[in-house]
Symmetry: C2
Subunit: 328 residues, 2 copies
Amino acid sequence: MSIRIGILGYGNLGRGVECAIRQNPDMELAAVFTRRNPADVEILTKTAKVLKVDEALEWKDKLDVMILCGGSATDLPVQTPEYAKYFNVVDSFDTHARIPEHFAQVDAAAKEGGKVAVISVGWDPGMFSLNRMYANAILPEGKDYTFWGRGVSQGHSDAVRRIEGVKDAKQYTIPVESALAAVRAGENPDLTTRQKHTRDCFVVLEEGADAAKVEQEIKTMPNYFADYDTTVHFISEEELKREHSGIPHGGFVLRSGRTGWEREHSHLIEYSLKLDSNPEFTASVIVAYARAAFRLAQEGQTGCKTVFDIAPAYLSAKSGEELRASML
Amino acid sequence: MSIRIGILGYGNLGRGVECAIRQNPDMELAAVFTRRNPADVEILTKTAKVLKVDEALEWKDKLDVMILCGGSATDLPVQTPEYAKYFNVVDSFDTHARIPEHFAQVDAAAKEGGKVAVISVGWDPGMFSLNRMYANAILPEGKDYTFWGRGVSQGHSDAVRRIEGVKDAKQYTIPVESALAAVRAGENPDLTTRQKHTRDCFVVLEEGADAAKVEQEIKTMPNYFADYDTTVHFISEEELKREHSGIPHGGFVLRSGRTGWEREHSHLIEYSLKLDSNPEFTASVIVAYARAAFRLAQEGQTGCKTVFDIAPAYLSAKSGEELRASML
């Protein structure tokens, strides 16, 4: 009687979800749905099917939760409202500014279908959001800080790769240690974009490309690099493969606040993540929320939820009794 | 239409709750109930009443939540089940081993009275428990670590003060930096009690007391000090007052875990607190959960809850829309 999961989209995130399901004995991967030719997609779980995405609706009574592993730019804004009519779904929609709009569309669809949809699950949005919210509720007078990294930013790596003369590239976002230290020391600094993060690019040039020109183009690129102190390292293709093929990430959420009748006491709440694999950790959070979606649906709930709306116990395979005895 | 709060017990924690209520504009302190003579108890909130604890039941329709600020040893095991029949209540019961029993008694009482009771609220149990639980749900294969300090342990300070020849004392619990560093480095160490924390005692002797004898007695005290590396500093009464009158505390909850088909990736989740005032921070958490208790009661829920059972959004004065737009 395990929770039957479907995965829609089999990239890094979909594969991470597959791995995470294997670590949760109360769940099983039933099927992976792909836009590619299923015969060309090899998955790790021998007991699960690989099917064309068009066949998904035929599985609406055979899955407890469908996990949507597409991208936030074009896939999820269409897929989540579409599939929330037929399945309990979880997505990792991460375009922060468009979350209210996405929520409204998914909520309407999920209510229409009598399903539960959990959106924007992962670590930011996700665990970082939760920690921002808890810390704000506890310390109403205070200041928030979020630092990202050290980690690979896919968007920035792509931006560098689009520059003429660049064969391949990886970009790391790095929090500025002195800024973090000032926050931890309770100094409540006002930090500019440049003061919070630096950017490190590892670039493989095409043969004959002009290194100085590429470096200049990276460092002055608006939105992506112009507001940051950026370092560019030119390396060989072999070195890039050997040293920079991982997808690590992480970061820090801090809130410093004051209490006392005269605000005489200060406090610091800090949450941090150090992740070897960004997609696998995101997937692990998603799978815990898939369990929650299943349970909420079993209780008869419907509509769109975020991490703010779901009691923590729903994420755990343990019972309330077990949690109280072992973790409280 | 603010949430009307009562405080039962006006020690450090009760006073912390009073201060926290002032920082939450949707709440007001209506009354403080004390076992002392109300005329002898001066509170900070000019608009609130100070009353004898026997008068509490007369306030059952005039308060939305009663916050129970007694101790876990003898007060709360009696008070929480008693008052949960008449009020929505929040307590900070922190005897971890007896939580299941306390939960059962409070649950029965709250259900009988049609009220909501939230128990074991604070930072440990409380925010540390939440972080243990979330981290375990996300990373099912991993290892947990909790370190406390640097901070004042009331129980250990009291134990030192009971030794013959000791006039006054303060005890600090200190996490061992190298142990924390090993956990952060992903080494998954097995740590003994001695390897996790050291203890620092600041002691004022009675005139003519034998320092060597006192030091020996502290360091060999079973349960409290014998299993730790303890340092004893003899200081003057003036220095104790000047340097050690605060009640700071804090600590670290970490979980290191592995993901990937072959568990090839490791991850570290860390939550930490650095608190100038242990009772004021505990009170701030309690007040956020008092808001949750009020809202759950308004929805018609009854019975005992812990931090595991309450969706995060209930703690915040902000609406779901505001939270999604500003913190997700």
